[in-house]
Amino acid sequence: MGADGNSDRTVADEPLIRTVDLTRHFGLGGLFAKKQVLHAVDDFNLTIHENEIVALVGESGSGKSTVARMLARVYPPTRGEIYYRGRLLNKLRSRKDLLWYRGEVAMVFQDPFSALNPVFRVSHGVTRNLALHRPDVRRDQRRREAERVFESVGLNAKMLRRFPYEMSGGERQRVGFAQALAVRPKLILADEPVSMLDVSIRAGVLNMMSNLRDQEGVSILYITHDLASARYVADRVLVMYAGHLVEEGPTETILGDPKHPYTQLLLSAVAESRQDAESISGDTGEPPKVINPSEGCRFRWRCPYAIEKCSQVTPRPTPIGSRQVACHVAVAQAEANSAAVPTAPITNT
């Protein structure tokens, strides 16, 4: 993405967070084993604007959590840059800068049962975050601020006194969001926040996420494998496969008329209702572990439309209308159609 790689933009048109060719590799094998490199994320570009919920969708092993961890600075990227409000993240080194960044970008974890310390009351995480990141809140005001944060995620202020074991999964996940919100972040990285919750409780957490965007002005990176919930809350969707971005664009555009064969496969797997049980492909594959990859599309082994070019050239995300697609076949088709009338969407929207 040559144009996007340009780092000297003005701050005014700068998105909240932006990555340029973000890449993370992990070395595998022991001391004497032949060097193997797992490509968890390769050349990944993402932007999140203010007041926006972006869904990052993919199966397990597609690298979506690795992206979140790099954004949260759990580990540094192997290659590529992350810009937060125009500031290069690698350059943040002092404790002051890091505290600032962690106050701006907070994380919510997948498993509400193991993310909270069982020996502390749930108020602990919230007030600790206030003490660390909110010097403007005086010690005696922390209690009241914690209550405000709790109420903003739909919890009763009295629940601050509880221990994690006294709360249900949905309540605990709200505590996770309250802890994140306590620091007044601009961006919340939510890694599968509802996948461990019961269905009857999920809707509440999803609704809370859109309220946070609308009322607190928070942006959220919503990591999920569930297309339906992504459609429900997200403004924009990014689909990942085996460490690559395969398709990106406005939610309704992507899910209403997916162009990448992988997005189409994902969508056909969740398409509800009973009528089309036969339309499911016999595909039994799972995302490959990308170890020492060669050039080429990583989806080609499962792809019904693969052509020769797919095994020779790695497709890069290419704009088609308001979206980007990393697929030779889809791009060629779009180019062929560009003179003709645009094709009708496959599914009704």
Partner: protein, 325 residues
């Protein structure tokens, strides 16, 4: 109506703890016909897995069947001794556990585990064992080359398939599955379900499929049973439960799902959380969360009422209909 393969009558299971007896399954009755696909749906803690364990006689203390019968092919399994049950397990009915990673032995190859199972029920020659193992593995769509593989060498979807292959070693008449797909990704989940349904149609076994995900069963099951707080909330044919859900809880579950097609609508979900079964609410157990709650719901225990071909445990239907049992 053909003779049912399995008939569960008023089965109750309790966990006998020091402070209270927690009745995790409360007087549940249902039947499974040969070749039928029954889906049991409910949230965590509703007793669905306990019910399955109660049917399969796999409960261990403090869990215990405290009432009711499980008639399988004319025999009451609750009253059978461990030896009789051992002869039936795998051969007549089998069970596929939720987490294949924990259910498979990490120290043994797939073939060795299949061999254990086969040898427990008769003496087969080495060749026969190998042949049958390869056969079932191929049936679930795994290359027999993986017979020599250890569980950690297989992906999540393949492990779950290997578990299903193991359950089919003897082609039992009943296969019980406890959330076999919940650890899998959507695509793997869908292809596994398609495979299970194909196998069921070709081999003709009955399935009891326990899940928390209504959309999984919607496409494959013949009947659906919705459980809430240890009781049957609603049971009906799959079509009728999806086109006309009767119980407010079932309706809540349906509207808690966002959809990938069709209009975007506001999700309501169900306020509150499932009750603590040690202290269930009086009256209807769903009354603290119910949008249609009436005064009598707080005091009166609803029975299962028959409405059309459905059974529903809700006082809304008390007046218009008669009792189910």
């Amino acid at each position: 109506m053909p003779e049912p393969l399995l008939e569960v009558r008023n089965l109750s299971v309790a966990y006998l703890t020091e402070t209270a007896d927690v009745r995790a399954v409360d007087r549940v009755s249902f039947t499974v016909a040969p070749g039928e696909f029954l889906g049991i749906v409910g949230e965590s803690g509703c007793g669905k897995s306990t019910l399955l364990f109660g049917v399969a006689q796999l409960l261990s203390p403090p869990g215990e069947v405290v009432g009711g019968d499980v008639i399988f092919r004319g025999e009451d399994m609750v009253r059978l001794g461990p030896d009789d049950l051992r002869h039936m397990r795998w051969r007549d009915f089998s069970i596929v556990m939720q987490s294949a990673m924990n259910a498979l032995n990490p120290m043994k190859s797939i073939e060795a585990q299949f061999k254990d199972t086969l040898e427990a029920h008769g003496t087969l020659s080495h060749e026969e064992i190998q042949q049958r193992s390869a056969e079932v593995l191929e049936m679930v769509g795994i290359d027999p080359i993986h017979l020599g593989s250890y569980p950690h060498q297989l992906s999540g979807g393949m492990r779950q398939r290997a578990m299903i292959a193991m359950a089919l070693l003897f082609t039992p008449q009943l296969v019980m599955m406890d959330e076999p797909t919940s650890a899998l990704d959507v695509v793997a989940q869908r292809s596994l379900m398609t495979k299970v349904k194909d196998l069921q149609q070709s081999l003709g076994f009955a399935i009891i499929f326990v899940t928390h995900d209504m959309s999984v069963v919607s496409r494959y099951s013949d009947h659906v049973m919705v459980m809430y707080a240890g009781q049957i909330a609603e049971a009906a044919r799959t079509e009728s439960i999806f086109t006309r859900p009767l119980h407010p809880y079932t309706r809540g579950l349906m509207s808690a799902f966002p959809s990938v097609t069709g209009p975007r609508r506001e999700l309501v979900g169900i306020p509150g959380a499932p009750p603590d079964l040690a202290r269930p609410p009086t009256g209807c157990r769903f009354n603290p969360r119910c949008p249609d709650v009436m005064p009598e719901c707080l005091t009166q225990d609803p029975e299962l009422y028959v409405v059309g071909d459905a059974e529903v445990r809700c006082l809304l239907y008390a007046k218009q209909t008669k009792k189910a049992m």
